[in-house]
């Protein structure tokens, strides 16, 4: 069972071999390191760039406009905030030129807290990304979706941002989350595609023959079926929500968890169907809570489903503070944790209309 990092690497390999990917690049993306999370090890088109995020985004745009298939990486999303103008520009290429050009680039970046990354390795990017018209935004919560969403991102004719939840990168797939064609045995897979420690100059990966799997952009996944309350979330918080749901099940509360997978365009039908069933909803994510993407979903819920709601819809998100502090207690207090999710869910469920 692949980890998410391995899933990304396999998808990029398929991208290079079968989907026309011409360039995979960013800071420390090429040899010898192959990415600060090892996500780009052994890829034949991976190369190291200068330390310049604006250059990375500009390079991706230029390559895309010239009909190449670039996959650029920003090492941590915390360092993408000096490129918002370029991201807006990329999102506007097709619209501004009235369809004359499109800009088929993928931009990957690790996001979120959970690894004691302190102020500048813990940022979320979903709210910011959702404010970039013309972009598609995806965020997997498990290795299989990581693989399938990346293949879809690569073939999409639009700029696609691929947000990888940092805290899940090394988590292994669970049963049912296999990538079609991956060797069943973890050790075997690792031996094939993980670079050895030490000198790697002679190492070459031995790629397994993985199959196509396109997870459609814009389609959510029901991560857990339930009847009493809906949690709409994505990325790392899918697992948090499922864990909280498992706890609540002991109290007879049956939680449905929707893993959005795509932040834009998002699967409104899936949200609507679930809220109509449960009549109670929590929007959950790690980003700071003022002008948060969950607030958009909540607004739409209120506008379209007001009379379906048996309790005020809720948002549970990150604290509105300048960063996430390093010490354990600080990180815990800054982004949703299982306990805090449980507390909010209990309130929602206890609410008497």
């Amino acid at each position: 069972m692949a980890t998410m990092v391995q899933a990304i690497r396999l998808a990029l390999h398929v991208g290079e071999e079968r989907l026309g990917v011409t360039d995979i690049f960013g800071e420390d993306v090429g040899p010898p390191l192959g990415g600060v999370f090892t996500q780009t090890q052994g890829l034949k088109t991976a190369w190291n760039t200068p330390l310049d995020e604006r250059g990375v985004v500009g390079m991706a745009m230029g390559l895309a406009l010239a009909g190449q298939r670039p996959v650029g990486e920003i090492q941590f999303c915390d360092y993408a905030f000096n490129t918002i103008d370029l991201l807006k520009l990329a999102g506007g290429v097709c619209w501004s030129s009235y369809g004359d050009f499109n800009c088929p680039m993928v931009l990957m970046t690790p996001v979120g807290a959970g690894i004691r990354g302190s102020i500048y390795h813990s940022h979320s990017f979903d709210a910011q990304a959702s404010r970039l018209p013309g972009w598609k935004i995806v965020m997997p919560s498990n290795p299989k979706d990581a693989y399938g969403l990346l293949l879809s991102a690569i073939v999409d004719p639009n700029p696609v941002m691929y947000l990888a939840p940092k805290a899940l990168l090394r988590v292994k797939a669970r049963p049912g989350e296999e990538i079609p064609g991956e060797p069943g045995d973890d050790k075997a897979l690792s031996k094939m595609i993980d670079a050895p420690l030490g000198d790697r100059s002679a190492w070459r990966p031995d790629w397994p023959k993985v199959e196509d799997l396109f997870v459609e952009i814009g389609k959510a996944r029901v991560a857990r079926v339930g009847r009493h309350v809906t949690v709409v979330t994505y990325g790392r918080d899918v697992n948090v929500a499922v864990a909280a749901a498992d706890d609540l099940a002991k109290d007879g509360v049956d939680v449905e968890v929707i893993d959005l997978r795509s932040i834009h365009p998002y699967d409104w039908d899936a949200i609507k169907a679930s809220v109509k069933k449960t009549n109670r909803v929590l929007f959950l994510n790690e980003d700071t809570e003022v002008t948060n993407f969950g607030e958009h979903l909540l607004r739409r819920t209120v506008e379209e489903l007001f009379y379906e709601l048996h309790a005020p819809p809720r948002l549970h998100a990150g604290a509105h503070i300048p960063g996430i502090g390093l010490a354990d207690n600080l990180e815990h207090a800054s982004v949703p944790q299982k306990d805090s999710v449980l507390a909010v869910l209990r309130e929602i469920v206890a609410h008497v209309p």
Partner: protein, 345 residues
């Protein structure tokens, strides 16, 4: 070739063949008359804003003529400034399309009535969309240049152009850094059209560099500063620089001293500035001196063309305007028009 940081070196004072000079001149006139028409349209309320390139024709026309024109990485890519109308005309663009963009009609082929005039997009000639934020084109140029470079046997290069004030943005440095990496040099011609102004702010006082082109030197780049007011020396210098980039597949930083003949834009009045050198007047003087044209012929040609564009602008007034519900069109592309259809190779 001569590479220097001084203005035109003597050996560039060569003459263009008469036919070529006449062709350059004709395009210069057309570009100037087009800009004057656009300004008049603005002043008469047939458009909300004007910005353009009168004063840069002696350089921009040769640029348009020397481009290796076509679609895809075997051809030149152009990342242009909003003063590049003469380059567009020299490449063969229809001036009426500029009138359409000025009037923001639905028929504007560059943006469907969405963008300001002189913000082109011509995929079939690798003219990537011009956008208003200053200098961002310098961050993108290395990307098209890399595509140029890896095209098998290709001679296509990337040309990126911007103003002097804009070189203060980090993106200008990004282009210097990314196109000169040792062993990974890119075929980029960086052009700085230096009119000594950024809106109301004079060059002096904002720059530590005596010549903008000097900034390429630390990167081991070829650099040159040339006079952009003489189409002949501009043509020869530009050709030499382009040939170098085309052949050596390495970057070149070219600074071109030009005039800003109608001020910054309509926001600053768009009136003719007598203090600036007028390249068209100088070129016409040359033609008369070399007896290639008489004053009368020159005046007649200009008057005739002025009439044509006036008539065209009246026709454009009748063309349909965009509808409100058009705003959601092309937010997403439904297919890949810049490369292989679904990315599969």
């Amino acid at each position: 070739m001569t590479v220097s940081s001084t203005l035109t070196s003597p050996k560039e004072n060569r003459q263009l063949a008469p036919e070529l000079l006449l062709q350059v001149h004709e395009l210069m006139v057309k570009a100037r008359v087009l800009e004057e028409r656009l300004i008049t349209m603005y002043k008469q309320g047939d458009g909300f804003f004007w910005i353009g390139g009168p004063g840069e024709e002696a350089f921009n026309v040769p640029l348009g003529l020397l481009v290796h024109k076509g679609q895809g990485p075997e051809f030149d890519y152009l990342h242009l400034h909003y003063r590049s109308s003469a380059t567009m005309l020299a490449m063969g663009a229809d001036p009426v399309d500029s009138l359409r963009q000025m009037k923001n009609t639905a028929t504007d082929p560059y943006s469907g009535g969405r963008n300001f005039v002189n913000h082109y997009s011509i995929r079939k000639w690798n003219v990537v969309p011009v956008s208003s934020p200053i200098e961002v084109q310098f961050s993108m140029a290395p990307g098209t240049a890399l595509a140029n470079k890896r095209f098998p046997g290709g001679k296509g290069i990337t040309i990126v152009q911007g103003g002097d004030a804009g070189t203060a943005e980090g993106d200008f440095a990004t282009c210097l850094v990314w196109s000169s990496r040792k062993g990974a040099e890119l075929p980029v011609l960086m052009v700085v059209t230096n009119n000594q102004w950024g809106i109301s702010t004079a060059y002096d006082g904002q720059h530590g560099e005596t010549r903008v082109s000097d900034r390429g030197k630390a990167f081991g780049m070829m650099t040159q500063t040339i006079d952009g007011n003489d189409p002949e020396s501009a043509y020869f210098s530009l050709k030499a620089a382009m040939d170098y980039v085309r052949t050596e597949r390495r970057p070149f930083l070219l600074e071109v001293m030009v005039s800003r003949l109608y001020g910054h834009s309509s926001a600053s009045g768009a009136n003719y500035v007598r203090e600036e050198d007028d390249c068209l007047a100088k070129t016409e003087q040359k033609l008369v001196e070399r007896k290639l044209k008489t004053r009368q012929e020159l005046d007649d040609f200009r008057a005739k063309y002025t009439q044509e564009l006036l008539a065209a602008s009246k026709r454009v007034r009748e063309e349909p305007m965009p509808k409100g519900d058009d705003i959601y069109r092309h937010v997403f592309a439904t297919k890949n028009v810049v490369g292989p259809q679904d990315g599969r190779s």
